[in-house]
Amino acid sequence: MTRIAYCTSMSDEVRDMVAERGNLNVYRALAHAGPPFAGWLLAGRAALTSEVVPVRLRELVIVRVGHLMGCAYELAQHTPVAERSGLGPRQLDALAADGRLTDGGFTPTELTMLEMTTELVTTASVTPGLLDRARELLDDEQLLEVLMIINRWSGLALMINALDVDIDTDHHFSLPH
């Protein structure tokens, strides 16, 4: 059960952004923080509206991070988004912490990004050879955005895990515009 009461007194700006994204429990819990939370939402808007990284790759990385961080909440909210971006059971099974990434039928770029995600989240670093391979497959802007996706959703997993946020039963994440 979520470890704190949900915030009921949000600024108009925060309430609108939270409503746009589906009034999820995670937002209602974090909204206690006020302006820093508003800043976090704005960073999220940029991350989720940028088209530099294909949606399918973004969601692959997010779901993989969710598994590696043991964050069932991220998986519950992002699995439907991942499915809408074209990922099926074969891919989603391969992303599980005990799954085999090579069984997912991923493109070479997707597989390399998932290997980088795995190494970074589990060891907090990336070997130079793997980063060099990543740079051969994506341009630097795309690679930086992938790293920022790993950054954001691993940090979010920590917050969700600490707050033990209940998975929403009647609200669903909707992408900001």
Binding site: R3, I4, A5, A29, L30, A31, H32, A33, G34, P35, P36, F37, A38, G39, W40, L42, A43, G44, R45, A46, A47, S50, E51, V52, M69, G70, M116, L120, V121, A124, S125, V126, P128, L131, R135, D140, E141, L143, L144, E145, L147, M148, I150, N151, R152, S154, G155, L156, A157, L158, M159, N161, A162, L163, D164
Partner: protein, 177 residues
């Protein structure tokens, strides 16, 4: 030598230029400015956290430097060792922040806050007892803001460890004192 090229300060967007003028022309910002679609949103979040007066500079820097050590992030350690010293953290305390187990020698509420941060960064979650202790000393608003601060530096450490921008020779992050 950064594994991903840094953007020259003269080439960043006007908004990014303004941010660097206020916060410092740090290599980390020149690195992330290579992803202009998400950089401005991210800096909005950073500003919102650094402009907040919820935590004293000393507590904020204790938390950040602890995260930096637990993530083995040489860049964050270099930046925030100096900032911690400026915020009144002693050399003995700075050394203590790099230990594996509990950080010795801190009084309350710092001790409870650092125990919460350490457990979260090392295990990816916290026990109910650890959570309750932190909420008792901080309250819900400051506790959620602490989560946002941990999320920021925990995730950023991954990007820095992957890209390894060179450590800045002299320039340091400008924070409110």
């Amino acid at each position: 030598m950064s594994r991903i090229p840094l953007t020259p300060v003269e080439s960043v967007t006007p908004t990014a230029r303004d941010f660097m003028r206020r916060r410092g022309e740090l290599n980390v910002f020149r690195l992330l400015a290579g992803a202009p679609k998400v950089f401005d949103g991210w800096t909005t979040m950073v500003d919102a956290q650094l402009d907040s007066h919820t935590f004293s500079p000393r507590l904020r820097e204790l938390v950040i430097l602890r995260i930096a050590h637990l993530r083995h992030c040489a860049y964050e350690i270099a930046q925030h060792t100096d900032l911690a010293r400026d915020a009144g953290v002693s050399d003995a305390e700075i050394s203590a922040l790099s230990v594996e187990g509990p950080v010795p020698g801190l009084a309350e509420p710092e001790s409870t806050v650092l125990a919460f941060v350490g457990e979260l960064c090392v295990t990816g979650t916290v026990t109910q007892a650890t959570f309750s202790a932190a909420r008792a000393v901080l309250g819900e608003a400051a506790l959620t803001e602490l989560l946002l601060l941990v999320s920021l530096y925990y995730g950023l450490a991954l990007v820095l460890n992957a890209a390894e921008p060179g450590i800045d020779d002299h320039v340091r992050l400008v924070t409110p004192s």
